[in-house]
Symmetry: C2
Subunit: 342 residues, 2 copies
DNA sequence: AAGAATTGCGTGAACGATAACGCATAAGTA
DNA sequence: TACTTATGCGTTATCGTTCACGCAATTCTT
């Protein structure tokens, strides 16, 4: 691999000149610059990242705008773990992160976090945003300086200038859930518990689920709602379903609160197929107990890890990154669970 | 993070002395060494990897002993992809790899590859071994110099001094396959196609499969064999099964040759549940077509990637690494396939 | 006791990039 | 004309290691 020094020799200039050309720092004659650039192309120069981050005085500051970890049945701990892991690895590359957590059910809370970010915006080199509160987030990103890079995690805002989106394909994930339910119940009657308030992901999962069964009219599906803010709401909803639908064969829980549903199913002493989401601690316990049949995992830890890494690569290494990364939808059951933990 | 220079100042010695202490290069008074070591402990010194690999003249050479990529229905391309990806990333850290591929059905071929390795052994810093031919591999590792680090990929040799094993838990993987088959066929009669010649993994998968159904006597299971050396053998075996067992509900193919089985199932025009292994190209096609219902993937690409990375971390960074990494057993179906492809 | 070998320690040149600085020469301004 | 300012380019210190080298002081030879 060619070095700046070698290129300098080939172009009959000094190392400093090559450096100036590469970084467009000016103070180079047009002719010389062209000559250098040609050679740079020719030898397919790639800067040595090691040398760069060793020499560069620059520290990168990334802001992380995500919901409080406890929210959505402790779901938000998972991406955070991945973010923290990436941050640790990136320490040697002079990367520092700061969390600006918010309450995902409170626009004011998001606004306050956003305000914090904007206050220090000149010393922030990039943002990782989970735009769960889409309206508030949409407003926020218009207030960002144009140069500022940001990546969306988990959710997405169309027509934004985000560098990349990392998350699941929710529709397909609902479809997958339906396929599993179809196998478990032999296309029996099933209930969907939709988390409210409105969330793009959840809606999409439910749409995916319903669309799978559209072609199977024998498999009846009923949709119910439960509030993801109130931890008991899912349990109550499930209990209601079980009480009023003695012929129900399965329940699909559209978010990480599946353990609440499991409690109700367990209490009913009936054999009900249960498909849910995400490897939060309590879900894992109910999966092990055999009350939850399948959990669909969206590799939440990996999502966080990859998101921060991509932000780093885009901002620090100026790499072009893929506009979207759809993470695998892992099907987790009692039999393969242990290999997904950590 | 403390640097050598800082430690040197704290210990009232020069940078070079600290370096000698840390690397046990001698030429340091016992007293001085102790003093330096205490401070090194105290400040929890971690060498800066960037600076290290930038300055170090040392290039690491790792040998890769794996079967030819085409073997086992092109299976061995997958780990190789991961190894290559890791090698590319590790280039800046001065890592070079060399393949010593062998024919997994020919002990002589392995011996020849091993001979090649031994010939250049003094310039090799570590080995990645897929000890598929366990006897030959066992003999080989006794011939290695004691200092030489090696990691097992895919398969394992007990009582060896390997740094780590990376692969699947085959028994559990067979169990998982059985669970899926049980769902697909409602505990109907199923056939297992066991790949021969003898292979520890395959045996274990089959044992896992059978053990799952032991508790369900209604679900009859028959075991057949097919040679993984002869590409048509699986197709023929499947055709035989389908012909002689009109009441069969599902086939479990114990290795990556599942696409051969799919051909036979497709030709029979019967609706047969089919569970197989690994995301090789042809398997993916039959999964998309709906002939294969589930593929269990052992993250073969990731296996390769992680294996080389661990070898690097163990040898170059002298990190302690986990003695075993059981990769997740991914359940891949038509609905979530696309997110597993690369 | 004179010379050789060993021990203890410091020095300084890499590695490849960043970025400040300095110094000519050229162009613009009063 | 004498000055500032801009342009074009080279030089050099720095980041944190590695590692060869060199030079005393000490110890071992014979």
């Amino acid at each position: 691999m060619a070095t700046l020094k070698e290129i300098a020799e080939m172009a009959n200039v000094s190392l400093g000149t090559v450096d100036r050309v590469i970084h467009n720092r000016g103070r180079v004659a047009a002719e010389t610059a062209a000559r250098v650039r040609r050679i740079v192309e020719q030898v397919n120069y790639r800067p040595n990242i090691l040398a760069r981050s060793l020499s560069s005085a620059k520290t990168f500051h990334f802001g992380i705008l995500v919901p409080f970890p406890e929210q959505d049945g402790n779901y938000w701990y998972l991406p955070r773990q991945g973010i923290d892991r990436a941050a640790e690895e990136l320490q040697v590359y002079k990367v520092e992160i700061e969390y600006f957590p918010y309450d995902k059910y409170d626009e004011n809370s998001f606004a306050a976090a956003a305000q914090q970010v904007l206050k220090n915006i000149h010393q922030i080199d990039g943002l990782l945003i989970a735009p769960v509160l889409s309206k508030a987030a949409e407003k926020f990103i218009t207030q960002l300086p144009k140069r500022l890079a940001y990546i969306f995690l988990d959710s997405y805002i169309p027509r934004s200038h985000c560098l990349s989106y990392i998350g699941e394909d929710s529709f397909q994930s609902g479809l997958l859930a339906a396929k599993l339910m179809s196998l478990l119940t032999h296309d029996g009657k099933s209930a969907v518990i939709k988390a409210i308030p409105f969330n793009y992901h959840i809606e999409d999962r439910v749409r995916g689920y319903l669309s799978y069964f559209e072609s199977k009219p024998s498999a009846k599906v009923f949709v119910f709602e439960a509030s993801s803010q109130d931890s008991c709401s899912f349990q109550n909803a499930a209990a209601q379903i079980l009480e009023h639908h003695p012929d129900i064969k399965g329940i699909f829980c559209s978010n990480a609160c599946s353990f609440q549903v499991a409690k109700a199913v367990y209490a009913s002493r009936r054999r009900i197929a249960l498909v849910g989401y995400d490897l939060v601690k309590e879900n894992i316990e109910w999966l092990e107990k055999g009350v939850i049949d399948f959990l669909i995992s969206q590799r939440s830890e990996i999502q966080g890890y990859n998101a921060l890494y991509r932000l780093y690569r885009a901002v620090a290494l100026k790499e072009k990154i893929e506009p979207a990364l759809y993470v695998p939808l892992d099907i987790v059951t009692k039999e393969n669970l242990r290999y997904y933990q950590n």
